[in-house]
Each structure stands twice: as C-alpha cells, then as structure tokens.
C-alpha cells in the first residue's frame, strides 16, 4: 500500500473510533439515568409519580439502546447494545458526571433530571441536523421524549422551589450540590469539537447559552437562585468517574457478570 492509502485507512479508523466514543457519550447519560430512575419504582411520593418516573426511565433506556446498537455496529467488534451496557467497566463509560450523582431525595432526583432534560432537549434538537442520517433519526425520536421529560421535571422544580419553606430550602440545596457538575455538560473537548466540525455531532459551545436560557426561565419561576459557576474537576465523559458509578454498575451488571450470556 502506498503511504497515502495507508494514511487514508488510518484516518478512517480514527474517525470510526471517534464516532463510537461520541455515541457512547450520548448513550451513557441516558442509560445511567434510566437505571437511577428505575430505583424510584415503589418509592415515589405517589403511585402516579412511580409511573411517571418509570416512563421517563423507559424512554431513556430506549434512547440508550438505539445509540449503543449504532455504536456497536460502527465499532465492528461484535458488541451489541447488551454487551456495551453490561460488560463495560466504569472507565469505559463516557456519561457526564452529573448523571451518576446519587438519587438522594425526590428533590435531588428532580433537579438532576431537570438539568439533564434541558441539556438533552438542546442536544437532540441540534443532532436532528447531523449529517449522519441514522444519528439524526435517533435524535428526531429522542427529542420528543426529552421535551416531555423537561415538561415533567420543570413542573416539579417549580412546584417544590416555589412551594413550602422546607421544599424551597431542599431544592436550593440540591441545586447547589449538583450545579458544579453542569459545567461539564457544555464544555467541548477535542472529541466534541472534531465531531461538530465534521457535522456528525453538535456544537456544545453554542448549546451553552440555549441551555442556560431554558434553565434560568424555570429557576426564576421556581424562585430558586442560580448558583455561581465554578471550575470543575469532573471528566466523566472522558471515562474518569467519581465513586458512585462503580456501585451503580455493580448492581446493574451483576447478572451478566455472574451468569454470562444469561437470557430470560
């Protein structure tokens, strides 16, 4: 092979790896949140909320499955969505760190969900215009789900934020705890920029303002103060996670790890 051909082949391989990683970044927050919301079933404040959270969890699981299937096919190593979900170690998970923060109380869960819903709405809206037809189709389906998720979580942020003194204080505290992790949502790194440049991914820098506007409008209505931005040390989307993800995956992956290939 000539040097030019070798370089072209190597370039294509790099592009494929980048796209696979990018798809994992999209899939993993949904997968992790689906698992977290599932833990609320039987524990939500009312049976109707049980169903609401479960519906959102199933939407997110569906998004993760479509994205993981695509990632597995692109990768070409025979890993399907199940293999990617149940047999990857924490360091191979590329979800933003916010998604793996523990459920806490109902307010913590709602604030986490709200911040990510607003982000996914903006993200999927932009990915509808991806030059990759398959990713655009997945985004077109997911954006409708994300809009409902945002309606649901925004409603609760306003109710509890503008509720009693107790609920307001808890929501403000949850917001303060989780806010530092939001920095990672719209901070583009080299991979994000490369994917945006080739038209595959979304422009995270442009997304930041739109996300802020959505979040600010709801926080205002909820009488909650937006915490100040601060530098952040978290790099979940590069596979560097905190302590929570390992515990979460241990539970989620237990069956496939203990009984490889088990089906039901």
């Amino acid at each position: 092979m000539s040097a030019a051909v070798t370089n072209a082949v190597a370039g294509a391989a790099v592009q494929t790896v980048s796209r696979v990683h990018y798809l994992l970044r999209l899939a993993d927050p949904s997968l992790i949140l689906a698992q977290q919301l599932g833990a609320w079933i039987g524990h939500a404040p009312a049976i109707e909320e049980d169903l609401g959270l479960a519906n959102t969890a199933l939407d997110l699981l569906g998004q993760a499955r479509l994205l993981l299937e695509y990632a597995g096919e692109l990768e070409g190593r025979g890993r399907d969505a199940d293999a990617l979900a149940f047999l990857r170690d924490p360091s191979e998970y590329l979800n933003v760190t916010l998604a793996e923060q523990p459920n806490g109380d109902f307010g913590d869960t709602i604030v986490r969900q709200f911040l990510i819903d607003a982000w996914q709405c903006e993200l999927y809206e932009r990915l509808c215009g991806s030059t990759d037809a398959r990713l655009a189709a997945i985004a077109a389906k997911a954006v409708k789900e994300a809009r409902y998720h945002l309606r649901y979580s925004s409603g609760w942020v306003v109710r509890l934020g503008d509720g009693t003194a107790e609920s307001h204080a808890r929501m403000q505290a949850a917001l303060a705890r989780l806010w530092p992790y939001t920095q990672e949502l719209c901070a583009a790194d080299e991979l994000d920029r490369a994917m945006c440049a080739e038209g595959f991914g979304a422009d995270l820098d442009a997304l930041r303002d739109a996300w802020s506007r959505r979040v600010d409008a709801v926080l205002r209505e909820a009488t909650l103060a937006r915490p100040a931005d601060a530098p952040y040390p978290w790099q979940g989307k590069q596979g560097r996670h905190g302590e929570h993800l390992g515990h979460l995956l241990a539970e989620m992956q237990y069956l496939q790890r203990a009984f490889p290939g088990a089906t039901w």
Binding site: A46, I47, E48, R151, Y152
Partner: protein
Amino acid sequence: MTTTNDWPLYEIFIRARGGLEHKHVGSVHAADARMAIEHARDVYTRRQEGVSIWVARSADIVASDPAEADALFEPARDKIYRHPTFYDIPKEVETL
C-alpha cells in the same frame, strides 16, 4: 403515600383518535390540573391509547342519584317505539 391523600381526585377522559369522542377511562390523584394531565398521560396513554386528554375535578361532577333511578329511567322502558326498529330496511342497504 400520604401525599396522595392530600391531592384531589381528577376524572380522566381520553380521545382514542381524531374524530372519536373523549371517553371516561378512570381517575388519578393530582395537585392541580396540569399535574392531572401528566399523570393521566403516564397512567392511561402509555400504550398509545390516546391523542387527547380531558381532566375534570371529580368533585365538580354532578351525578344522578341512584335512589332516583326508577323515576329517571323506568318511564323509558315501555316506550320501545322510540327505537327506530319499525322500518323496513331495503335489501340494498347492507350496513345500517
């Protein structure tokens, strides 16, 4: 589950598809109408049962008194001529 006791009951009506009427399907507890719509969506339309939802406070629905059932409904029983069953249907009419 104590919260549920504080929330009023809403009656839920779902339109299965465009052109059909809204039908009563059940009830949910919710803090207000917006939440009732969301709960109805999550409880009653998750298997594609509907394209439109109405909610109404159960307390706002005025019902007939079962004790008055005889007075209200018995008089209609012996007036079968009110049913359009006394017409001869032409053979050509297949679906009536």
